[in-house]
Amino acid sequence: AKYLAQIILVGAQVVGRAFMRALRQEFAASQAAANARGRSERPQSAAASRIIGISLQEAQQILNVSNLNPEEIQKNYDHLFKVNDKSVGGSFYLQSKVVRAKERLDEELRIQAKGDKEKGQKAET
């Protein structure tokens, strides 16, 4: 019975140590990701990046758009979404990234539109 207790204790220690290591790695990874994202972005953009989980720059790279042109975004998105569809043998993971990139760009467009509207209102008054 004592040996059983010892075995359980050692097992728990091993599990605990592995868990702590995983936690630390996860934390470091999220820190690195946050640092990579949060450069030269307005506060609302930074918040959007954090919520959707992808930075503006990365979203632009994925969808291959250099400017925030809605038609170009939509065209690229439709093509990439269709090409990576599971029924054609594409990778669902890549399709998800395309979807998230589109979400991020949509959010950025929304933020920009709101900012422009506020600027317009301020200019009027």
């Binding site: 790279q61 043998g89 594409g90 990778s91 669902f92 890549l94 998800s96 990234k97 998230r100």
Partner: protein
């Protein structure tokens, strides 16, 4: 002839025949000198009569204690005289249970009155959640440093696949996402990176 020294309250008409038996019947540990509600036993060892009014007043909070006490007396006294204490313990449990059921019923009735505005709030939140992030797509962007798991997901193969499988999967996905045909160069880079990572650590 004086009654034998039995430190816990029991009015047994059949005293244990010997000291040894008395010690055996006495419960182990500190419990020997205290009743469950910390009612002191007279130091002379004479059995103390159970005090009913306090038992009734203790109500729901002591129902658990009552159960424990019922078990304890039953284990201690065996046959016979544990019955009275058992009944009291049972009564306390019943009172506790009844009070619990009453509170749950009241809470339910109250919640029923408040249901309609709550329901609206809940459905709105659910709709917002479901439309903001389509449920089954993977979240977030690419990882900072590509991992084997991500590489396997990109190519759509298992992480322990053979080199041939990796190569065929890579070619298929690359043809679909080719930059010259309107794919994005970033995605093409990621696909190549995934293939290199998996191939370098593949077995055969």
């Amino acid at each position: 002839m004086h009654s034998p020294v039995i430190p816990y309250p029991s009015i047994s008409p059949f005293p244990p025949p010997s000291r040894v038996a008395a010690r055996l019947l006495r419960p182990r540990g500190g419990r020997a000198l205290r009743g469950p509600s910390c009612r002191p036993v007279c130091p002379s060892g004479r059995p103390v009569v159970f005090a009913p009014p306090r038992a009734v007043m203790e109500g729901a909070a002591a129902s658990a204690e009552g159960l424990r006490y019922a078990e304890y007396t039953r284990a201690a006294t065996g046959a016979g005289k544990g019955q009275a204490e058992l009944d009291r313990g049972l009564a306390r449990t019943m009172i506790g249970l009844g009070l619990g059921v009453a509170t749950v019923a009241f809470a339910g009735r109250y919640a029923f009155h408040l249901w309609k505005p709550l329901e609206q709030a809940i459905t709105e939140a659910a709709k917002r959640i479901s439309t903001s992030s389509l449920s089954s797509y993977y979240k977030g962007g690419f990882e900072q440093k590509m991992s084997r798991r991500e590489a396997s997901l990109i190519l759509g193969v298992s992480p322990s696949a053979g080199k041939d499988k990796i190569r065929t999967a890579h070619r298929k996905i690359m043809i679909l996402n080719h930059p010259d045909k309107g794919g994005s160069p970033c995605l093409a880079t990621k696909i190549n990176e995934a293939k290199d990572l998996l191939e370098s650590s593949a077995k055969n």
